[in-house]
Symmetry: C2
Subunit: 282 residues, 2 copies
Amino acid sequence: MATARETFRVPSGPVDLSAIDPRGRPIGPRDKADAALEMENLGARLDIRQEALFAEGTSGGRRAVLLVLQGMDTSGKGGTIRNVLGLVNPQGVHIASFKRPTEEERAHDFLWRIRRHVPEPGRIGVFDRSHYEDVLVARVEGLVPEEVWRARYAAIADFERELSGRGVTVLKCMLHISPEEQAQRLLARLDDPQKRWKYDPGDIDSREEWPAYQEAYAAAMQHCDSDAAPWYVVPADRKWYRNWAVAALLAETLDDVAPQFPPPGYDVDAERARLKRSSGIR
Amino acid sequence: MATARETFRVPSGPVDLSAIDPRGRPIGPRDKADAALEMENLGARLDIRQEALFAEGTSGGRRAVLLVLQGMDTSGKGGTIRNVLGLVNPQGVHIASFKRPTEEERAHDFLWRIRRHVPEPGRIGVFDRSHYEDVLVARVEGLVPEEVWRARYAAIADFERELSGRGVTVLKCMLHISPEEQAQRLLARLDDPQKRWKYDPGDIDSREEWPAYQEAYAAAMQHCDSDAAPWYVVPADRKWYRNWAVAALLAETLDDVAPQFPPPGYDVDAERARLKRSSGIR
């Protein structure tokens, strides 16, 4: 079977999102029950890798992993975090959500607020939206002139190369949903009093710019995909498939990072002896 | 059945920790299988409360919850976070681990580094060690003169009253283990190459001050227990019981907070109509 990274990697060259089926299941589980079983295995794999990464970080290791999640409203960024990152120790995860920038944030370079949330050594960082908003919403809504957002592609590529050089392995997932599925999910939010807080009238405004957003995503992925910071397009109309795919991408990435439990910085036998001598306490 | 909060609340007046059995199971599950079932129910309860708290926070609510975890080395602070906070959406949780203070931190008041991690509105904050270290290790190891650590009890009580006034509900758990159980756990860390990174030779030094630490814990709890920021002593020799007890304490606390999903700030029917008009898109 092809790996998740091979399967979901954005094609090189111009990206045609309409050629990728949001309900596709090119590899992996065929149904929800299948996916649940596979998630157990992935959970165990993620778990041990995360712990080793964390352990490495406590003894001078500099490596970290950064998972960037992007997608249209209701594409499931929050659900992915809950279901995929919920599989590992929350202590090793740093989640940052980037909303509409504050006045202070807007007064700085667009990467300023992003840099503050780059994961520390040993951590898995997760961005719920990211610096890509500055070439997505900024482009579609014309928040800045074209020469400004256009120059950001190179700035982002530089930034991500810098992260990679510092030992931060970056992977980026676009959660790819169809407008039909989005309509269903928005409606569900309106219908359920416990979900209404998640709905924002602005979601419809973005929805009406659907083709422009797809174009902006395609351009961002084309300009900022690299082996050091790859872009993946994850079919996201089925929640269980989306969760499985992101978990698989993260697991394969961590397998590659292959973090190592550090050797002890003390003499194990001597400590055993000290412990034994102390055991009479109380 | 008595509630967890009634059962585990530190007795008022002078605290005698030796009178509390670290293997005790005064209420709740009798064995691991029982506990696993109860944890499922608690998980569902915590989950919905956490989501409502988060939702409240997105629409101007100011409330948050802060769970403080303290205990001797190996008492299971990390394991509790993993097993209890692992039950809720990681996006709604802010975990802060307080290690030996850095030089910058030592240059400030002892509460300076703590204040930076008070949970934002809508969040469940978790402290893995806390400001209590400044009346525990600081007292036992004589890091500061007695008049300094002694004055901190009042400073802590003031700080926690301030939090409560701001809408942050505080609960504090001492994970109570026996020195015999600690010896087993330290030995397990030395024996397993994947656990050696968790062992620190300084753990034995603290272990040798066991009675002084118990006394320092007792004093801290006596001075800083209040209805606004109660201290609980959780029997922690059995990991499954400890997890259950902390989950139950957190669930009861959240039941009391009773966060509410906010009413929508828009006209639901009008939005349904907008959504319908937009649905032809693509």
